[in-house]
Symmetry: C2
Subunit: 351 residues, 2 copies
Amino acid sequence: AITGKEAARVSILITGGTGIIGSCVAVELAKEGHRPLLYDRRLDRTFLGDVQDQVEVIQGDVLDLDQLVRIIRAQQVRTIIHLAAVIIPEAQADPYKGFQVNAGGTVTVLEAARIEGCRRVIYTSSRSVYGPVAGEHGHPTYRPLPEEHPKAPRSVYGVTKLAGELMAREFSQRYGLQVICLRFPALYGPGRLARHGEVALHSRLIEGAMAGVEVVVPRGAEQRDDLLYVRDAARAVALAAGAEGITSFDFNVGSETMVTLRELVAILEGLYPKARLRVGPGLDPVGLGYIQYCRYDCARARKELGYRPQYSLDAGVRDYVETMARLGLQPLAELSAGGGAAGPALGAGGS
Amino acid sequence: AITGKEAARVSILITGGTGIIGSCVAVELAKEGHRPLLYDRRLDRTFLGDVQDQVEVIQGDVLDLDQLVRIIRAQQVRTIIHLAAVIIPEAQADPYKGFQVNAGGTVTVLEAARIEGCRRVIYTSSRSVYGPVAGEHGHPTYRPLPEEHPKAPRSVYGVTKLAGELMAREFSQRYGLQVICLRFPALYGPGRLARHGEVALHSRLIEGAMAGVEVVVPRGAEQRDDLLYVRDAARAVALAAGAEGITSFDFNVGSETMVTLRELVAILEGLYPKARLRVGPGLDPVGLGYIQYCRYDCARARKELGYRPQYSLDAGVRDYVETMARLGLQPLAELSAGGGAAGPALGAGGS
């Protein structure tokens, strides 16, 4: 990690910096003595908590090449953490916009980094680039999935993230720009329900338990999945920003285990005896139309980034609840109960 | 094919319509009684020959969604043939622009087609989406390569074409828009040297022989490759525009044979006894840095599109020479000799 005097000289820019992951990355970097620049369409500082004064928030569009170049130059940005993206349901509903922002935005950030001679870009990608997972990597054997697994996305979101990955690798190979691609599995964390809506299945159960409202998930209590707590994801990003001697391009970053909704419900019922969580039996709670439940092989991230997941499901849920309290946020009863405006769920997967 | 009265009512729009392939597609469609609209940055009608009066040329940018929508609506366009793209060396030299035009342009055309409820979009892709070809599909066995072969591009151009393909499939599956993707191998034809520059290796030999200048290719005389004449490519596009009952998304469209530069040189020396063509022995004349010489399996295009390649290498070369004469074009001596302004060759592959 970059610390001390060096940190004071070089700036880190985080696109999507006020988002769910971005805010947690800002917290991680602030702990290391950085003052990251958060670049986002939204100036909402809700999730920044007590690092408000250790960051700078700049409003901007990830497709605005000129502004990105100006900021990188003016602030001597050497490392860009590129998180800005349209979320899964938005990309599915508007493929044109989803492609422009996710794929086009990534290429714009890469181009700005190339023009200004940045050292490194961290790109966060998603399990959706792999597409359907079957055979030994699927139910019931779940052999850990390595980075070499073929990329055959079956969603607009997955296509947009893969296009960004492939262009990131081209920029990395052609120019002196080091690009590190981190692929997250399903994520959960405070704010996902507020920002992503009903697709945040695990957040619906957690905040529903907190609010005491009934949450019904028709099926899938036994489905095992690799579920990553947002602070572990953010820690991986911070490690990637500071790591030396990296030789790989892409890294699977997961929880190194699998959990079920039944286990999540049991934890929540322990914390909230009045919780009314109804999850039907069986597999596939998400119902994407194809199966992508799997467990990541994280050996590469362990070796090259020094990554270790810190949050068991129990620890993640407790931190979620504590963080909500610390930030003064109320659980979202209506969204938890499934009464939000979002359409049919399109997956808790992805970043 | 759409003919007669129906052809008079519905319009076909060809993006990149004044280009090397586009002009040949216009000729094919004019033969069927269509009056295609050619949408291009360039108003240059050089390659349209005697179908000048059977087409309309509209100047425009493939990234201009509003103009595309207006034209589709005003002209009752039901089928779009999307050929507009930045060529290989331009995409390699400027990945940002290459991605915007090739991938972003494709998504813009798809979005315009979706908004206006078009029936069909033909998208022309490239062998470069497959990336390196090895094992049984490579030297020396060259087992014909089917469409299912994994897509692992290793060039900016290949990434931009694959991103377009993946988004085309998403649009095709989500909306009532039928998208047909045609993948070409290496292409040759009149105009490629003028428009694409030195990377048009086969055109350098042909026009060099015509001009009587010395052409030196350091190595690769024995390399076999699937080399498609532009009129066969254009015929496949016209067939795809009119075919009924298509169930597949992607089609390999090749020559169904392999030829060498040695064979090309022998044909040219037969036609031009004073030709001074010097091609060194061995394999890999192109020197991409990876190997993509292969032969396509075209069974699917035969079955669903009724496609049959018409031009042997000998017939293609003769048509090339005759077409140049008919269009009143002189062979480009300087470019043939390798004295053009283009940088290091980056492959005669791709469309």
